[in-house]
């Protein structure tokens, strides 16, 4: 409805008298009601209400269950989401661990370069420092990784190490 029409419509609403129909239409009732209908109606309704007594309880219980079932379902959904999100995050953390341990191993390997055997390909020094190249590094079978780590931890000078050999 356009603004002009709205304004004129509202004005019309206020000005028009309430109803212009004859009062006789309002004051007479053309609908005939059968004799004793209303007395019978009360009895009929009370009889039906009495027979529906059990139904009333079942309906009430059903309404009660539905109301609480929805709440339980919501809570269950939230709990499931929370648990699954915990597992998802845990999975992410677990997946990351090898990468970080691999990186730390890589650093250790790089630190152990001076003690590494002649089988290392010294011509290609960049391979020691690039990721994924650790397979080119070969350790002397007689010296274990733990020995090397222990040596580094004890802070023993390189000369004494070779003297022991």
């Amino acid at each position: 409805m356009k603004e002009k029409d709205k304004i004129s419509f509202n004005k019309e609403l206020k000005e028009v008298p309430e109803v212009r129909f004859p009062d006789c239409l309002k004051n007479t009732n053309p609908f005939i009601v059968p004799d004793n209908y209303f007395e019978g109606l009360s009895d009929t309704v009370m009889k039906r209400c009495g027979s529906d007594k059990k139904v009333t309880l079942i309906v009430s219980l059903k309404a009660y269950l539905n109301k609480h079932t929805v709440a339980v379902l919501y809570l269950t959904g939230i709990v499931v989401l929370a648990i699954s999100s915990v597992f998802v995050f845990k999975g992410i953390i677990i997946n990351r661990e090898p990468t970080s341990s691999l990186a730390s191993n890589q650093i250790r390997n790089n630190q152990m370069i001076p003690l590494i055997n002649d089988t290392i390909q010294k011509s290609d020094t960049s391979s020691f420092y690039s990721p994924g190249q650790e397979d080119q590094i070969q350790f002397n079978a007689d010296i274990s990784t733990d020995d090397i780590i222990n040596y580094l931890d004890n802070d023993v000078e390189a000369d004494s190490f070779y003297n022991d050999l």
Partner: protein, 183 residues
């Protein structure tokens, strides 16, 4: 005599297990006539009105525990009656696969056939004019014109704003006037 018993007294009787049936009987006796007339004006035919009124009071019985005192109990029962009547008309259309105009035509013809309609020609014409209105608009007109209900109460029953109700009533009056002039 029934009018002397207040709604609060009736509700008090219903709230107690030992007097529940008695209190509900009083409630039915107090409001059976106005509720019947409201429904009858909507559905026209007595047998249909009878079925609906019984369903209304049974619904009241089943849900009386859910009634909140924020509105009057008559308003609450009235709202149930209006909704039941609208549902009935909707179902009747669906069941008979009738179009909007066909159902109204059927109801209009029943004014002549119904043994329980004593209105003269003027009344029949007026009732036929009412039947051209959409169901909800007709209900609003009935409440305002026949029952002289204030717009605030109609708003509470129908859930429609007072402004919209006034507009609806005004349009209904214009449509009825136009129909009566043409016929």
């Amino acid at each position: 005599m029934m009018a002397e018993i207040s709604d609060n007294e009736i509700l008090d009787l219903i709230s107690r297990e030992e007097t529940r049936n008695y209190g509900f009987n009083l409630l039915v006796q107090k409001y059976r006539r106005p509720i019947y007339m409201t429904v009858r004006r909507i559905v026209i035919i007595h047998e249909d009105a009878d079925d609906i009124v019984q369903d209304v009071f049974i619904k009241v019985w089943k849900n009386i525990g859910k009634f909140r005192a924020d509105s009057q109990i008559y308003t609450w029962i009235y709202r149930i009656a209006v909704n039941e009547s609208l549902s009935f008309l909707k179902n009747k259309k669906l069941q008979c696969l009738l179009t909007f105009n066909s159902l109204k035509k059927k109801l209009s013809e029943s004014l002549t056939d119904d043994n329980f309609f004593s209105g003269d020609e003027a009344w029949k014409k007026f009732q036929k004019a009412l039947l051209i209105l959409p169901d909800k608009q007709r209900i609003v007109f009935n409440m305002r014109y026949f029952e002289e209900m204030p717009y605030s109460k109609i708003s509470e029953i129908t859930g429609t704003s007072e402004g919209a109700l006034k507009a609806s009533f005004h349009i209904a009056v214009k449509k009825i006037e136009s129909f009566l002039k043409e016929n």
